[in-house]
């Protein structure tokens, strides 16, 4: 057994787990944060995407012990004071989800994409940036629309810069 200490959505937590425990299972089973999903067994679907030290990663592709000491954000950490994050609000507004299974990973990916690309984010960047996230329902168009709309909302200078 190993001790894992993480900062999760701003709070320091620690717990014991087997050394082979994947980070996604630690988050879901030990911390009870079940918003992060598991959609595949092959590191390909992106349903498990979270941020580790500010960057999007697949939490099924890393052991909890490897992540120990880092700061992570899960989908539960986005809304502030009962207000949806702009990316969450945009997915709701633009019908960016149907069954919702892929949505936590899509939203976490989009937040990192918008933060790192800044005001220059284009539709092509969004489509390219979602390459590691699979959705079986929407056909992606409304997801792309949601991400671009959220980028406009988060970065008022964006449209002027284009």
């Amino acid at each position: 057994m190993a001790k894992v200490t993480l900062t999760v959505n701003g709070r320091t937590v620690s717990g014991e787990c087997e050394e082979r425990t994947l980070l996604v299972h630690f988050i879901r089973d030990k911390l009870g944060l079940t918003g992060t999903h598991v959609g595949c067994d092959t590191n390909q679907c992106g349903a498990c995407v979270i941020h580790m030290d500010g960057k999007s990663i697949k939490s099924c592709s890393i052991l909890a012990v490897q992540a120990s000491g880092s700061s992570i954000t899960t989908i539960e950490g986005l809304a502030q004071n009962g207000e949806l994050h702009p990316v969450q609000a945009a997915f709701k507004e633009h019908h960016g989800l149907q069954c919702g299974f892929c949505t936590p990973g899509m939203v976490m990916t989009a937040v990192d994409l918008i933060n790192s690309k800044g005001t220059s984010l284009t539709e092509e960047d969004v489509r390219h940036g979602l390459e590691g996230n699979i959705c079986r329902c929407t056909g992606y168009h409304n997801i792309v629309k949601s991400v671009l709309s959220a980028a406009d909302a988060m970065q008022p200078g964006r449209q002027a810069a284009e």
Binding site: N43, K55, E131
Partner: protein, 265 residues
Amino acid sequence: MYATNYHRASSVDEAVKLAGTGDDTKYVSGGQTLIATMKQRLAAPSDLIDLRHVPSMKGISVSGRSVRIGAAATHAEVASSSELRAVCPGLADLAAGIGDPHVRHLGTIGGSIANNDPAADYPAGLLGLGATIVTDRRQIAADDFFTGLFDTALEAGEVITEIRFEAPEKSAYAKFANPASRYAMTGVFVAKTGGGVRVAVTGAGSDGVFRHQGMEQALAGNWSAEAVAGVAVDSSELLSDLHASAEYRANLVRVMAKRAVAAAR
């Protein structure tokens, strides 16, 4: 996944020492290949030694035309290094096209070349650049490093610490990505260097990454996309699988080489 023991190394020496302990010890860097393989129970190391926290294996630096990339540099770091991009945009672009953003945030250059997947991108980049692979014990020329499918010149317990090369005059990588996995169905890296032209092909060879002498000669005389168009590519040593026949790959080698030469900067 089978049970394993985890160790976090804080220096190269410590990592090498730890590697001598367990009965089936493996290094883990980004884990983007190894953890996935362990999940499938296709690998079951008794001990894992994490290299992500070794400070001397991190970072990218450029001095004049000499480039040093730490083995633990992630694909995202290589893709976004403005210093590297200024002298060798071909390799930065190659890194930007690996997998997806999440894979690029964790996967490392050292892990990729140690794994030497026949469809991986970096082997073509480093062979094309004539890079030197530096380990805890020696320096290995890329020409001697990649020895076959998933096979390298690395000895048991040997750690790649950094990659070094002289930036070429021009270079570029063109990849025909498998639409599902994004790995290279065929990828060609071309480099025009002080010591001549180098053309390295990944994703296509039945024995892994290889250099194409015919194209190198044609480009040495005439650096242009037209020069490679007429070069024969022998399909008898190329891979054939459900994605593409050897003949199809032979054509892709030519088309990717043309694209890379046209895009070279």
